[in-house]
């Protein structure tokens, strides 16, 4: 009897607990960029040449690069430094979180730097202002001239900690620099940091160059140039400047791209009006024919695991996107929309394929899943093409030309980037007009 009584009591108690727990579903929030405060890095007074203006400014410069990177993502809102209450030297030791909450900051970046014996040592910390706790703390040592790269690496680390996906700031973009009137364009191979700084020209502009692509280690570049008046695929070592023609093809080779392991180059080879896809092993120099069709097969791009290839072909009568296994088997058409599809590029995440679409005189940059479903057109313009993925698969860079007048006036070619959600479309700063961009992988892996 007693037992029953106790069981009854426990039952009543449990019912009471169940009753008391209130559950509220939160299914909406604000989509505003995260307010983040990037405090200037404190320069240690023990630094060499501490009194130099250059040394004193370095902390400000690094924080401004970080801030600019964050602003460009569209995901963060770096707060105005004038509103900061706490000074950099104190905040790095112990932030007064109330002061940062006051200016609506949700995350805070602090740091300090020391230059000693021609070495730059940088420490930084990321703080969760609402939780009053440190989220990440790292230190780097490098040469002082490398300060900009360190700023990009810091940005990548913070980006990864706050979004969950890897960053893309410590990267480069290779592109074709264009100068001169439209009918007599001088095209050079150029390389720059993703934020438009540190531009370097790799060719002199004597020969026409097109479609440069990085290899996975970012040391080699393959591109199209002219050799004895024939377009041929070239290979260039960025460090040494040595370049060579890829393969001994008795005709035109174009649209080159590296395989994900960097051991092969995949490209198109055209002969007698027919164009097929070939690969060449960079070690053994063995050439392999991948497609065998009377149509024009071009713009090949490997999937990140190297098992599949996407390309465009007019074998159905109209230019469309196809996928196949890396040995050329199981060819499958994946685009069926209205218009022409070209320049397919497989995302580094492997889930999407970016492409250029032409429909009723308009050019679109879009993405679709690798099986062809879920096509989304991200941006529309008069002329734009050649999308290239950021290493984290979040952004696409492409180039866009403006409509020229009768004598070529008003013509420009610029690089643009867009988020795969279709938001945050922005122009990338380049020294000259630019086309055919290709995004490198992360330099610091």
């Amino acid at each position: 009897m007693k037992k029953i009584f106790y069981i009854f009591l426990i039952f009543l108690f449990k019912i009471n607990i169940a009753y008391s727990l209130i559950e509220v579903d939160i299914t909406r929030g604000n989509l505003d960029p995260l307010p983040i405060a990037v405090s200037p890095l404190h320069v240690d007074s023990k630094s060499d040449n501490y009194q130099d203006a250059e040394t004193k400014e370095l902390g400000e410069l690094i924080s401004s690069v970080v801030e600019k990177n964050f602003r460009s993502t569209g995901l963060f809102n770096p707060l105005n430094k004038d509103a900061f209450i706490q000074k950099p030297d104190i905040v790095h030791l112990k932030p007064r979180f109330e002061d940062w909450r006051l200016i609506t900051a949700q995350a805070l970046v602090t740091g300090k730097l020391l230059i000693k014996d021609e070495k730059l040592k940088i420490e930084f910390r990321l703080w969760d202002v609402a939780a009053n706790k440190e989220m990440i703390a790292l230190a780097f040592t490098t040469t002082p001239s490398n300060w900009r790269r360190v700023a990009h690496i810091i940005s990548d680390k913070i980006y990864e900690r706050l979004t969950g996906e890897s960053g893309y700031f410590d990267t480069r973009i290779i592109y074709i620099s264009e100068t001169g009137p439209r009918t007599q364009r001088v095209k050079k191979l150029a390389i720059m940091d993703q934020d438009g700084e540190n531009t370097k020209y790799l060719t002199l502009g004597n020969e026409l160059v097109l479609t440069p692509r990085f290899n996975p280690t970012n040391q080699l570049v393959t591109y199209l140039s002219y050799f004895r008046n024939l377009p041929r695929v070239y290979l260039l070592d960025i460090e040494t400047g040595i370049q060579e023609v890829v393969g001994n093809f008795p005709g035109m080779t174009f649209a080159p791209r590296f395989s994900p392991d960097g051991k092969k180059i995949i490209m198109s080879f055209a002969k007698n009006g027919n164009s097929d896809i070939y690969t060449m092993d960079l070690e053994s120099r063995l050439v392999e024919k991948i497609t065998e069709d009377s149509s024009i097969d071009t713009s090949p791009s490997y999937s990140p695991d190297g098992k599949y290839i996407t390309f465009n072909s007019d074998r159905s009568g109209i230019q469309q996107i196809y996928t196949m296994k890396s040995d050329g088997s199981e060819v499958k058409r994946i685009s069926f929309g209205d218009g022409l599809y070209g320049t397919p590029v497989w995302s580094p995440r492997g889930d999407l394929i970016a492409f250029t679409k032409v429909r009723r005189g308009k050019f679109y940059i879009g993405v679709m899943r690798s099986d062809g479903s879920g096509e989304r057109l991200l941006t529309e313009n008069f002329y734009q093409e050649a999308p290239s993925w950021s290493p984290n698969g979040r952004l696409l860079v492409f180039y866009r030309e403006t409509k020229a007048g009768k004598n070529g006036e008003g013509f420009t070619a610029k690089l643009w980037s867009i988020d795969i959600t279709g938001y945050n479309e922005r122009e990338l700063k380049t020294e000259t007009d630019a086309s055919d961009p290709s995004w490198s992988s992360l330099l610091s892996k």
Partner: protein, 268 residues
Amino acid sequence: MTRSLIYSLSFHAVMVLLTILSLPFMIRQPVDLPPILSVEFIQISDKTNIPFAPKARKVLEKVKKEEKRVVSEQAPPAAKAKEKPDRIPLPKKQDEKKELIKKKQNPKEVKPEIRQASEFEKKEIIDTNQIAALIDKAKEESTKIEKSKDKLTQSNVKNSFASGLTLSEEDALKAQIFGCWTVPLGLPYDENLLVRVKLELKQDGTINKSEILDHERMNKPGQKFYKILAESALRAVRICQPLRVPQTGYEKWKTIQLNFDPSEMLKG
């Protein structure tokens, strides 16, 4: 002694029993059953003698004549009987049906104003043929209204019973947190990213203790997006405090669970 004690106890027991039985709730009410009435169901439209309005009478007689003529050439009513009573036909289908009926009708097309009375006429005329239908409809409507009322009340009861908050209190709390929660924009939309946060609140709505219910998931490999979302949820409740909680019933809401689910937002 023992005997007198037994007498006394039995006497008291009898008294107590009598008292209990005489209490009002113990008295059985005589069952007052109503006399059984036999009811014969008849069609009102067949037997009624409600007079028509003089103006309408003529019109209705005309309509009846025309209808008789038309009905004779219409499709057999069996087809109609197949329709489910609760089915709401789509406008297109209605049109098709009308067209079908027209085709089957007499070549002499019946003028619409004769066949059907206008809305205004309907209000003036008491059409006995439709009274039964009207009554039925009214019944249906009233039950529908009652049902919807019931539903509303039930949900209210369920909500307030289960959550301990009224709808308006819950809405106020949600609206407050919506404003504070900055959803991380880089999250994938196709992953299960529900974050459950349990809060212990003080009487003024400030947070005494916060806890991620699936916190072990935060440190698992491949769950970095969950961690990011969980951190954003905690940030939101901290920024929002003091939470907008009712001024009374602290015992009910001192422990509260918030379920953060960004899937709808991320899918757009």
